[in-house]
């Protein structure tokens, strides 16, 4: 233990002892093998909290921003659309450098990200040179040395030319037995991740996307994120969908991987909205009833869910949450990934809020909650450029990188379904509360669900749950101090309500300096009622200005300062910061529940408005021009 954590432990122990000592004061003092403890005499062993409020602090104090879902030209579909950027360029872009897009447009983020996971499809990570004879390193060396010498002598061009001819005529025909000799794209990938992983400055996660489109386009994709480095990652080849399309087989692969390497993996599913009801189906992939074991396995491997990205927002759907006036946001709800139209009964098993609710119900019957996930987001960009800001959006794939007519291209087109590229959302990023910018620290935060999703802006959001938060906590200068001391952060659990107590929450949000002010903070509660039915309710808990809820209980809208023609807005409405302590007014200690926070910005121009202005065009009237950006925190669960 470090000195500061020992001190904190000491303080906690001292306080614990002090409380128990005073409780026992009327009875007998605590005794032990060496006699009766005298608090006065032993106080020196437990130093009091020091002068500096920052010493001894070991909880996260800074949000680390990243994208857990980036494709480069090394994904076959990205390459097919024209992406020529590889993982190297993608990481350089994420780190804040200027990079040329595949179409030759200079591109740069407004601010660097702190971390990224390059998740190219595993189907393309296989062997590229089937070298079947001897040791390819032997073969490479003489050439490399000759080439190097010629380069040094200033004859690089000639050397290169020779090499091409030599290799094209070189018939390699011997036997390969050991896969270590096969040069794989996977190994090239992990090498690049190592090159750009700089602990303390930027974290490059090793990862891949397992891209299951089961049953003709039902999106069951998962991003596998490694806690470890190349040495472990290279030991096992990623699972492809040629191996299997069943997520249960992916979990088996992950278990074998951990057993073999001693490392750690997690998987993040996305796009339930394109799974035609399969993502959160109430039976297994093969159609069998759910079991406790299945629920345990899913919960163990999938602690996070990617709730928003370019191909639509997956928090909830207006038909499932009809009284939620913010539910109709960037919806892709017509079909699955192959354009097969949705049928009734599918939507209920596609969105995060309903899945979280269903998870509570399943916990009652199975004993384990399989859908106990936190919320993260990424872009799923296939351009290599992780852009989620409205004024800097490079689109889903190279065919829809900025150009005057990109807004009207088809993204999905079948006889029954058309999705236009103006429907792309410029989203999203993940904010992680980790103590340091390293793979281990960020991965651990994702595993314990102390992270949140945003639709692009980098708002700072704190969300704590406990039994004793009050208005004073909302006024302190260090709300996190109160938060961690009196409760659990996002992703945490509350259990067995003490008599007469109801869950209280401390929630705070700070706007992104480059984005709009904040409109409001909401807390969304889902629970299973006494009859066993799932319920949900959205509470407005903090808001800007002096608005008051109307007779219908709804808070008036904040307004709209967006000047569409100039793709501009003013921060004259909303507030830069909101904080509050809130108490559940409808709590029943016998019922399972979850709470998560949603922070909503004032309206700002959507990427379509920026395109309209920059290319001097006019889009169809039905194309939205404004967007209300939001953040979704991971939930806090209550178990009776």
């Amino acid at each position: 233990m470090t000195a500061s954590s020992f001190r904190l432990f000491g303080v906690a122990l001292f306080m614990g002892t002090a409380i128990s000592v005073s409780a026992f004061a009327q009875e007998s003092p605590p005794s032990s093998d060496i006699g009766i403890m005298d608090p006065a005499a032993s106080a020196h062993a437990f130093p009091k909290r020091g002068f500096s409020p920052y010493a001894g602090r070991h909880y996260p104090t800074r949000v680390l921003w990243g994208d857990e879902h980036v494709h480069t030209g090394w994904s076959a579909d990205a390459g097919a659309f024209g992406a020529t950027l590889g993982p190297e360029e993608a990481l350089r872009f994420a780190r804040g450098e200027e990079v040329m897009s595949s179409l030759g447009e200079p591109a740069k983020l407004s601010r660097p990200l702190d971390w990224a996971a390059i998740t190219d499809h595993s189907d393309a990570a296989g062997v590229i040179f089937e070298i079947r004879d001897g040791n390819p390193n032997l073969m490479a060396d003489p050439l490399a040395k000759r080439w190097h010498d010629m380069m040094a002598a200033g004859q690089g061009g000639v050397a290169a030319s020779e090499m091409i001819i030599a290799q094209s005529n070189n018939k390699i025909s011997a036997v390969l037995k050991d896969p270590r000799l096969a040069l794989t794209i996977w190994e090239k990938n992990t090498s690049i991740m190592e090159k750009y992983n700089e602990p303390g400055r930027f974290t490059a996660f090793i990862g891949y996307e397992w891209t299951s489109n089961a049953g003709g386009g039902n999106n069951l994709h998962r991003n596998v994120i490694y806690r470890d480095g190349k040495a472990k990652a290279d030991q096992v080849l990623p699972m492809t969908t040629f191996d299997s399309e069943n997520p249960e087989d992916l979990w088996k692969w992950m278990a074998k991987w951990e057993a073999k390497t001693g490392g750690s993996l997690l998987a993040i599913p996305h796009n339930g909205n394109l799974s035609n009801g399969k993502m959160f189906a109430l039976n297994t992939f093969e159609g069998n009833p759910l079991t406790r074991e299945w629920a345990e396995t899913r919960a163990r491997w999938e602690p996070m869910y990617e709730v928003t990205q370019i191909k639509g927002d997956g928090e909830t759907h207006p038909s499932l949450s009809p009284s939620d006036e913010f539910a109709n946001f960037e919806k892709w709800d017509q079909a699955n990934l192959a354009g097969v139209p949705k049928k009734p009964g599918m939507l209920e098993h596609e969105y995060a809020r309903q899945a979280l609710e269903e998870g509570l119900r399943l916990e009652q019957t199975l004993g384990v909650n399989p859908f106990k996930f936190g919320l993260v987001s990424g872009t799923d960009t296939h351009t290599g450029l992780t852009t989620a800001e409205e004024d800097n959006f490079f689109g889903k794939h190279t065919g829809v990188e900025p150009s005057a007519h990109r807004w009207e291209h088809d993204v999905v087109k079948t006889s029954q379904v058309i999705v236009k590229s103006w429907q792309m959302a410029a989203a999203g990023y993940t904010g992680v509360w980790a103590t340091e910018n390293t793979r281990e620290s960020i991965w651990d935060a994702l595993k314990r669900k102390e992270a949140y999703s945003t639709t692009g802006p980098r708002m700072t959001v704190r969300f704590f749950g406990g039994w004793d938060f009050d208005a004073k906590d909302a006024q302190t200068r260090m709300p996190a101090e109160a938060g961690y001391a009196k409760g659990v952060p996002m992703g945490g659990d509350l259990q067995h309500a003490p008599d007469g107590k109801v869950p209280t929450f401390l929630v705070a949000a700070l706007k992104d300096p480059l984005s709009g002010n904040l409109d409001r903070i909401q807390i969304i509660k889902g629970w299973v009622d006494a009859k066993g039915a799932v319920q949900e309710k959205v509470y407005d808990v903090a808001w800007s200005g002096d608005r008051k809820p109307g007779a219908d209980g709804k808070l008036p809208l904040v307004g709209d300062t967006v000047d569409v023609a100039n793709a501009n807005w003013t921060n004259t409405i909303g507030a830069p910061e909101l904080i509050t302590a809130w108490k559940d007014p409808d709590f029943d200690p016998a019922l399972r529940a979850f709470y998560y926070s949603r922070v909503i910005e004032i309206p700002t121009p959507r990427w379509t408005a920026y395109d309209q202005k920059r290319f001097n065009i006019k889009m169809d009237a039905k194309v939205p021009m404004t967007v209300t950006e939001r953040a979704y925190t991971s939930p806090i669960w209550y178990t009776p």
């Binding site: 920052y54 030209g73 076959a76 390459g79 097919a80 190297e88 601010r111 296989g126 062997v127 590229i128 040179f129 079947r132 490479a140 060396d141 050439l143 490399a144 040395k145 190097h148 380069m151 690089g156 061009g157 000639v158 290169a160 030319s161 090499m163 091409i164 290799q167 036997v175 390969l176 037995k177 896969p179 096969a182 040069l183 090239k188 090159k195 750009y196 700089e198 030991q235 096992v236 080849l237 692969w253 074998k256 991987w257 057993a259 150009s403 005057a404 007519h405 980098r458 006024q475 302190t476 200068r477 709300p479 949000a509 700070l510 706007k511 300096p513 921060n571 830069p576 910061e577 904080i579």
Partner: protein, 283 residues
């Protein structure tokens, strides 16, 4: 009739027949015949090895049969597809081939090891990319204009006076509560800008140290700042940034090599580019 068998031409033809027959029986194996497929033992071992590296166990007999059958199917489809010319004008195939050409280049570049002298020279030539940012350590007291309305100027003056008094008031008790950090240790300007915004970071540069000053503006409101330490930007020594410089040097070499090699290839081709008709719309 006997004369027929004595003709030299007949002898030659018979000899030719004999040679062909012998070749057919004794000649190279069926691998030469275009309609035969051989799944060699080494290939099977390789497939099993790849399976084992994915699943951490060897394939069962049934699984192996599946892999082999699938390979045969793939081989047949590949040959038929090539015969039909399906590899032509296929974007995915073309990009994969391009990628393989680019990977071949990489193998050579990765083998290059830069000397210290080369890295020093690169560091000098690209100083801006490796420069250590100027850093500032400071405390700040936040004033939320929305909470003070018309009184904001008076309140600001009062706070500044309190901070500049001798002895100075405790900064922690003044100003409005905020999620923004009240103190940052030596921090680079880009990070300050990420937290407080560019406006604040720029204004902070102009503030004199060692005294409470302000207020300066950010997108959040007003801030009084006390700069306790400043470190100018500087050029690091090679030992501090060796890995990063080596990485950038290698990348630069790769680009150089890519271009040199492509230019060599280009010399072997005659490229003709047609004119786009002026009547078609330009995207």
């Amino acid at each position: 009739m006997k004369r027929f068998w004595k003709e030299p031409l007949v002898h030659f033809l018979l000899l030719a027949l004999a040679i062909f027959a012998a070749y057919g029986v004794l000649g190279p194996t069926s691998a030469v015949r275009p309609d035969s497929i051989v799944v060699t033992a080494p290939k099977i071992e390789q497939m099993a090895a790849v399976f084992a590296k994915t699943w951490q166990r060897p394939p069962t007999a049934e699984e192996l049969k599946g892999l082999i059958d699938d390979f045969v199917k793939e081989e047949i489809y590949t040959r038929e597809a090539l015969a039909l010319g399906l590899d032509k004008d296929d974007t995915v195939i073309r990009r994969r081939l391009r990628q393989k050409m680019e990977f071949m280049n990489d193998a050579g570049v990765d083998a290059l090891v830069p000397t210290d002298a080369e890295l020093e020279a690169y560091l000098k030539a690209h100083a801006a990319a490796f420069a250590v940012d100027p850093m500032t350590a400071f405390q700040q007291v936040f004033l939320n204009p929305q909470q003070h309305g018309d009184r904001v100027e008076q309140d600001a003056a009062a706070i500044l006076a309190a901070l500049q008094a001798t002895p100075p008031a405790d900064a922690a008790t003044l100003g409005d509560a905020t999620l923004l950090p009240s103190e940052l240790p030596l921090t680079g300007k880009p990070t300050i800008s990420q937290t407080f915004g560019q406006e604040f970071a720029d204004a902070l540069d102009k503030v004199a140290p060692d005294q409470w000053r302000g207020p300066i503006m950010s997108g959040y409101g007003l801030h009084f700042v006390h700069i306790s330490k400043r470190e100018a930007g500087r050029m690091p020594a090679l030992s501090e940034v060796r890995d990063a410089v080596a990485r950038e040097w290698t990348n630069a070499k790769r680009t150089e090599l890519d271009e040199a090699r492509f230019n060599e290839l280009l010399k072997r081709y005659q490229v003709t580019i047609e004119n786009l008709s002026t009547s078609s719309a330009v995207q």
